[in-house]
Symmetry: C2
Subunit: 236 residues, 2 copies
DNA sequence: GCAAAAGTGTTATGAGTACACCCATGA
DNA sequence: TCATGGGTGTACTCATAACACTTTTGC
């Protein structure tokens, strides 16, 4: 990681949304520092790299996926926005800090940073969370039970969720959170998780089918003592 | 203008929307260089300044207004995004360039820049376009007859318009483009200018009144041989 | 009275909501 | 046959669209 190759004072933070067990989840990194610091997956932008490319690279590092749906949603640039929590830790422990193999460049790292917020939607089943050298753990946390974040990352997640809700219907992006095929109930439960409110089953089905983007496939026999639901696939 | 005091490689560009004569307009600067270069009003971010504050400062410089409605809408960060047009000009004219009283710091200024796009809505009657030392002229251009812009500024305006359209209804922000009081027809013509399509007069009126944010004032007698329209004021 | 534009009313349409009902499935 | 959950139909409400009609204003 050559700090010289990055744009200074500018970073990217990613809110990676996944969905499982009727819960909307966010991928969270616990930093590999001797203090409990939770962070969104983030990184810097190379001088010769589009910002969207940088976001994709960061996402690929943590999820091992490419072709991820992602969207830039807001820039966070408060004047005092610095990595103070880490700085506090360093002063507390009074020892040099390694970010991976590279000793932390204090001058570079502790300047005020402006960060570009991206959110990504992934099929949680396809993701094997990868920890980079900076991470102690990388884990999924339910949206309503997040760890105490570093800096303004709690705010970043909140704003990402607002934007996700704003776009889920219009842009037909919810399917990125589901496997290739899914039942109508699963789709509905996803919507309920995102909006944190129930939807009427029949009306939900009518609305989704009227969008004209769902292909009905074979029935899914689960062994349960009830009518087998159809599977659907998202098309175009 | 102390370049050292700004965040490097990060800028702000503002799409300042105004409205007059049934036309949506954008404030455009012709740079004070011996080449025809048109630019959006923009600037840099001080190290000790919120990005929103920086945008307000830039807006105040060009419009002499404070309390402007503005919204961050997108970041433009293509890898090759540089002030090449100016660089071309310099190579062509082979003379040192002054930005105001300060000689241009080539190393600083010709790096790749990431820019944060803001759009602002102003009452065009209250604005007296101010040219900074960087501007030759600052003028209003109709949205559908813009000059050939510098860099990616054409794209920035297009994206700003998309976002304005997306928000005009939801956020009730159109009134920022009108004077304190206005007739229903004027409001409708504004909407028609923004969306570039006609609205049915009666239905438009019904929709606007149902929002519950318009206070009906006295009638406006124009001297025309027809029924005098009511004036309205936007409330809360 | 007349043209022009403002204000209002009436009906049709379509999306969304709430209710009910029938069907398939496996025990 | 039964409970369970899936699929569908129908009536109601509400916002919007499309039509028409009346009113005000100054010449």
């Amino acid at each position: 990681m050559d700090i010289k190759g990055f744009i200074p004072q500018l970073s990217i933070d990613c809110v990676i949304f996944g969905y499982k067990n009727k819960e909307l989840k966010v991928l969270v990194s616990k930093l590999s520092l001797p203090k409990e610091l939770f962070s969104l997956p983030g990184g810097f932008i190379s001088q010769d790299e589009d910002i969207d490319q940088a976001a994709l690279r960061i996402l690929k590092e943590r999820t091992s996926l490419k072709d991820i749906y992602l969207e830039q949603f807001k820039v966070f640039g408060a004047a005092g926005r610095k990595n103070n929590a880490i700085l506090d830790f360093i002063e507390e422990y009074k020892e040099p800090v390694l970010l991976g193999e590279m000793e932390l460049d204090y001058d570079w790292f502790f300047k005020r940073f402006v960060t570009i917020g991206y959110y990504a939607l992934v099929d949680i089943n396809k993701v094997k969370p990868q920890k980079t050298i900076l991470d102690d753990h990388v884990d999924w946390y339910p949206i309503d039970d997040l760890p105490p974040f570093f800096m303004d990352h709690t705010q970043i997640v909140e704003d990402a969720l607002v934007e996700l809700r704003r776009n889920l219907d219009d842009k037909l992006i919810g399917f990125n959170l589901l496997p290739e095929t899914f039942t109508m109930r699963e789709l509905q439960e996803l919507y309920e998780a995102v909006y944190d409110k129930p939807f009427a089953r029949n009306n939900f089905q009518k609305r989704m089918l009227s969008l004209g983007v769902l292909e009905r496939l074979e029935k899914k026999f689960t062994g349960a003592a009830n009518k087998a639901p159809y599977l659907y696939r998202f098309i175009s």
